[in-house]
Amino acid sequence: MNGLIKKKIKGTCFILPAFLVHLVIVLIPACSMFYYAFTKWNGLNEPQFNGLDNFRRMLTDYDFLFALKNNVIWMSIFLIVPLILGLGMALIFTKIGKIQLLFRSLCFLPYVVSATVAGKIFSIFYSPYSGIGSFFEQLGIRGLADFAPLGNEHQALYAAAFVDNWHWWGFVLVLMMSALHQVDAALYEAAQLEGANSWQILKNVTLPQIKPTIVSYFVFVIIAAFTTFDYVWIMTQGGPAGATEVFSTRIYKTTFINFEAGYGSALSLSVCLLALSVYFILKLVQKRGREQL
């Protein structure tokens, strides 16, 4: 008995370093938000408890609530575009022989480029003086000469999403290709013997077989879209005129530029709880769906 306890102590010591690092850097700060969210705090002084004031303020904070619209647009874009590109290209790539490896690694390449480089380079491309606009003007195509999407309230969000999508869809491609490779080849042969055409094979064999990958893709995108930050901040900082504000840029400005850390905590807490509850609802739906099969 004594020996077992000794063994268990030893084993637990192997786990503790990772646990403690995670506890101090992730769990404790995350939990402390539940306290800071109910305080007036500038980050430096002692936080002062102010009850539900922050949450009451949030309900009339139209800058913040307006951001929801942009988060939803962002989510819709990423639910559709990278999936169609990634899955569509994966279906094509897996049927062209060995050269798929070269194409795959080139399409994946932007994924390893940092958001700052991708975002800033595309900002230059989007600029009317040094970018695509002037490129077309010099070619004599006037229609695109005024192309300056980052300065346009109606285009800026899509322009930033385009870059994030360029950076990310190669990752989806690789994911889908590995899902496709795991589909049992016998299923395809059987379908072909039955005389199914390629559309029927896609609908009845391929898609059902890779459904788990597609579902995890949806779950990931929905969660990630609530806290998307890098590309919006790097390319527009929420501008022009607040047209591209998302939750995270509002939180960032509130906390680190206005130094309203208490209110910023309340905003983060709300967004994180929103994202987590959506996550658990989706997991539940996913589980139900699996049980029905």
């Binding site: 786990i15 430096l44 490129f135 360029w166 995890s216 930050f229 967004v271």
Partner: protein
């Protein structure tokens, strides 16, 4: 048209589409690479073009004026520090959970997996002011701690699946021979786990090299900035010196791109294993 011809034609169409999309995908990076070797006047005249002569001066100037030596030092220190720490602490944790007896194994397992669900924005606000109080803002150590912590959960899941699949007989044989846990870890587990350890090191290193939100918040001193962050600030200051900017972009991504092309397999496998982590 025979079936063979039809199949051949369909393959040719697919090949063309694949080549076309791949070309579109790499054009932006190709433009960056070409422009990094052109002069400002050439770029000003036309955005897309082949360099008439190789302007290496762009690189020299970007490296020197941008202060990239220091930035490389910062990024290497933070990246290597974080990836080695993540590898060590996660490998030990997984080893303890899968190969040894320990207290509350289910709790620890659930804890690490659940860590994946914590959004970055749930920790950055309190963490910043906590680090500010204990003087970890603007330090390498602070960044290494953050990057180590936020990379634990994903790599835990990645390594756990692998360790669980290792044969138990080896450990038992080693223990009968009187080997301690550390000896067993070093001589039995490490040789088998080398590929997965490489993946973990690469993933964490690349993640830290490219990370933006935490580094932009916690590293405000010019001298502490990482390579990606340096580029972010460099572009704003350099106006229309586009030759430098494109050269600086190449300098910023080069190590990662080289690692990617040299070690593609362990890299891609690690990044896409079972999870959709962007």
């Amino acid at each position: 048209m025979t079936l063979m011809q039809k199949k051949k034609r369909s393959k040719a169409v697919k090949l063309t589409v694949a080549a076309f999309i791949t070309l579109l995908q790499i054009i932006p990076l190709a433009v960056v690479l070409l422009n990094s070797m052109r002069s400002n006047e050439e770029i000003g005249r036309q955005l897309v073009g082949v360099p008439t002569s190789f302007h290496f001066s762009n690189y020299v100037q970007a490296w020197v004026q941008g202060g990239y030596l220091q930035a490389y030092g910062n990024s290497l220190l933070i990246g290597i520090g974080s990836s080695v720490i993540v590898l060590l602490i996660v490998a030990f944790a997984v080893y303890g959970l899968t190969k040894m007896h320990c207290f509350f194994p289910r709790f620890f397992h659930t804890y690490f997996v659940a860590g994946l669900a914590v959004p970055t924005f749930a920790i950055i606000v309190p963490l910043f002011f906590f680090f500010y109080k204990v003087n970890l803002v603007n330090t390498h150590l602070g960044m290494i701690l953050i990057y180590s912590a936020i990379n634990i959960s994903f790599n835990f899941m990645f390594m756990y699946a692998f360790f669980e699949g290792l044969p138990k007989e080896l450990d038992e044989a080693a223990r009968i021979d009187g080997a301690g846990e550390m000896q067993n870890f070093v001589y039995n587990v490490v040789p088998l786990a080398k590929p997965i350890f490489t993946s973990v090191l690469l993933i964490v290193f690349v993640n830290t090299w490219n990370e933006f939100l935490f580094s932009n918040t916690f590293l405000q001193q010019e001298s502490m900035r990482t390579v990606s962050l340096k580029f972010y600030n460099f572009v704003g200051k350099s106006g229309s010196d586009f030759g430098f900017i494109y050269a600086a972009a190449i300098i910023s991504i080069l190590p990662i791109v080289v690692i990617y092309f040299l070690m593609q397999d362990s890299f891609v496998e690690g990044m896409t294993s079972g999870s959709v982590k962007g």
